[in-house]
């Protein structure tokens, strides 16, 4: 994490940390908070559970950690069923939203806690704690109490405490949400880099879609206790599978049309008399079915040469610094495009065509 590059603690070469959830359910206060979640990670993967408040992501994480017992389904780590194993016999390192550092222990004592519980001899303990503190850039803070640390330092201490026991899984519960915006970005980059270096399978829970996109190998978007889509960030962003995913993450043009049929690079459909194409999310629809296309503003290209696409009139353009926002009124409704800053800016009232690569947009039955 600091600029000094330190060797990660020695890890066995056997790739471990394969988490599998199969039909996991949880009822809390009479309400089904998690309703049948299936999930499987690759060893070493950085997987994010992304969703709004109350979507069941933290409950899912707590079941993985063992702080909550699943009401149904199976939780496995490396093929071992841990559904009924109490938390202290699982091997999970967890970082909490509040960091949950022990206020009466120094940073070093906090980090050493898990090793003490594992009866690691004092000398080894000291060495491992020192290595870990150096790794997270907290060397020199070992004897401080958590209350004397900044938010970022507390976060690193919590991370060190979770990692020093070389857990099967690293569980991060909204670990960046108590930090200010700049620090949040920096720390999440550091955590992602560290995770890649030591290769511990990591589950991050967050409601911040930008954070999820920035650090994850894969993202599971959750709502109402179920996983809506589990995919790589690029796919989640460009090709949302459900209306919820499309609208929860970023801005989207949802365009309604009728399915026509497969074409070379995607699936064609008719929108207000024009033919456009996108990639079906899931099974391709039958011809004639009502569908909705999800097109991100960034992938919309605007041309005046009469190319194929949605035709319309420029209603508004606005310079936003990194992008130029351009709203086009089409027969299918308004389409927003986010143009690069050096693009030609069409004049308001100009007739233009909105187009995109079929692989950069998705369509789903409505």
């Amino acid at each position: 994490m600091s600029t000094s590059v330190t060797e990660a603690p020695a890890r066995s070469d056997v790739r471990r940390g394969r988490l599998r959830l199969d039909g996991v359910r949880k009822v809390l206060g009479g309400k089904e908070v998690v309703s049948s979640v299936d999930l499987e990670t690759e060893p070493g993967e950085f997987l994010t559970l992304l969703g709004p408040s109350g979507c069941g992501k933290t409950t899912t994480l707590n079941m993985v950690a063992g702080h909550l017992t699943a009401d149904g389904g199976v939780i496995e780590v490396d093929g071992r069923d841990i559904t009924a194993v109490p938390p202290h016999r699982r091997s999970m390192g967890m970082v909490f939203q509040s960091y949950a550092l022990f206020p009466h222990m120094t940073v070093a004592e906090n980090v050493a806690f898990g090793l003490r519980m594992r009866k690691v001899p004092a000398a080894d303990r000291r060495r491992q704690v020192a290595e870990m503190l150096e790794l997270v850039g907290l060397d020199g803070m070992a004897d401080r109490h958590p209350g004397r640390l900044s938010g970022g330092q507390q976060q690193r201490a919590a991370l060190a405490r979770a990692l020093v026991v070389q857990p099967d899984l690293l569980l991060l519960d909204e670990p960046f949400s108590n930090l200010d915006a700049q620090l949040r970005v920096r720390l999440r980059e550091e955590v992602a880099a560290l995770q890649r270096r030591i290769g511990t399978t990591t589950i991050l829970v967050t409601h911040d879609q930008e954070e999820a996109l920035a650090v994850s190998d894969r993202i599971a978007v959750m709502a109402d206790g179920v996983i809506h889509q589990l995919d790589r960030p690029r796919e989640i962003y460009l090709r949302p599978g459900t209306d919820f995913v499309a609208r929860f993450i970023g801005e989207v043009n949802a365009i309604e049309g009728t399915a026509a049929g497969p074409v070379a690079d995607g699936y064609a459909c008719t929108v207000a008399g024009e033919t456009v194409a996108a990639t079906p999310a899931g099974d391709p629809p039958a011809a004639g079915e009502a569908v909705r296309l999800y097109v991100r503003p960034e992938v919309v290209r605007i041309s005046t040469d009469g190319a194929q696409g949605l035709r319309g009139t420029v209603r508004e353009t606005r310079f936003l610094g990194s992008r130029i926002r351009c709203v086009v009124a089409t027969p299918a409704g308004e389409v927003t495009a986010a143009l690069p800053f050096d693009a030609r800016v069409p004049a308001v009232g100009e007739e233009v065509t909105c187009a995109w690569r079929p692989s950069d947009a998705s369509l789903a039955a409505r």
Partner: protein
Amino acid sequence: MTRLTALLGGAFAVLVGLFLIAPVAVTVASSLTTTAYVTFPPQGITLRWYAEVFQKPEFLSSFALSVGVALGAAAVSAVAGLAGGLAIHRYRFPGRAALEAVLSSAFAVPTIVLGIGLLQWFAQMGLASSPFTLLLAHLVLTVPYAVRLVLAGLAGLDRSAEKAAAGLGAPPFAVFWHVTLPAVRGALIGGAFFAFITSFDDLTVALFVVTTDLQTLPVRIFNYMQYDYDPTVTAIGTLMVLFAVVAVVVIERFVGVARLFGADRDQQ
């Protein structure tokens, strides 16, 4: 504010301060008098009355009884307070609401009424006066505070810290020992200290429970005062003030530590 009002305010505060320390200061000073009656300012200086205290075995045995009962009250209050506080804070069980109701109403009942109630109840149960009944009587005064303090301590504990400890491999008892207990340490020390002071100081309840052979120090002093006006009592009073000062200094250290924890939590 003008300088005059500031001056007046300062003068007033000094007067209030004098008022607050007057009885103690006068007691301590007049314990040194050479006269056979209590007078202030003291006439001459002698430690004779302190020697008198130690030559009166009844005072020494009363002191021993008071300390013993107070230590017992402190220990039982800490344990019952911790267990009760944990139960109320963490669990739902039959009688929880009733326990909470009794806890809060215990403060509202006048001590003298508790005293006479205990007197009549113990008589009805056929319990003869003993150090044990004294201890029982004092628990009613001390346990509610202990439970309250523990509840306050638990309210300040981040439950995630317990989860974190469990996740790091700590079995339930280790979680309790390493995380929960330290969080309520200040409350426990405070509760035990308070219980000790309350029990050691109590006259109202003890008056109803004691016999002529079994008198706590406050009862002994109270009875002595009715008949004798010699400076022995001022000497005992001075010793007790010293005792209180030492206790406060000791507790200030612990409470200071506890406050440090509180400050730490504020920063998180």
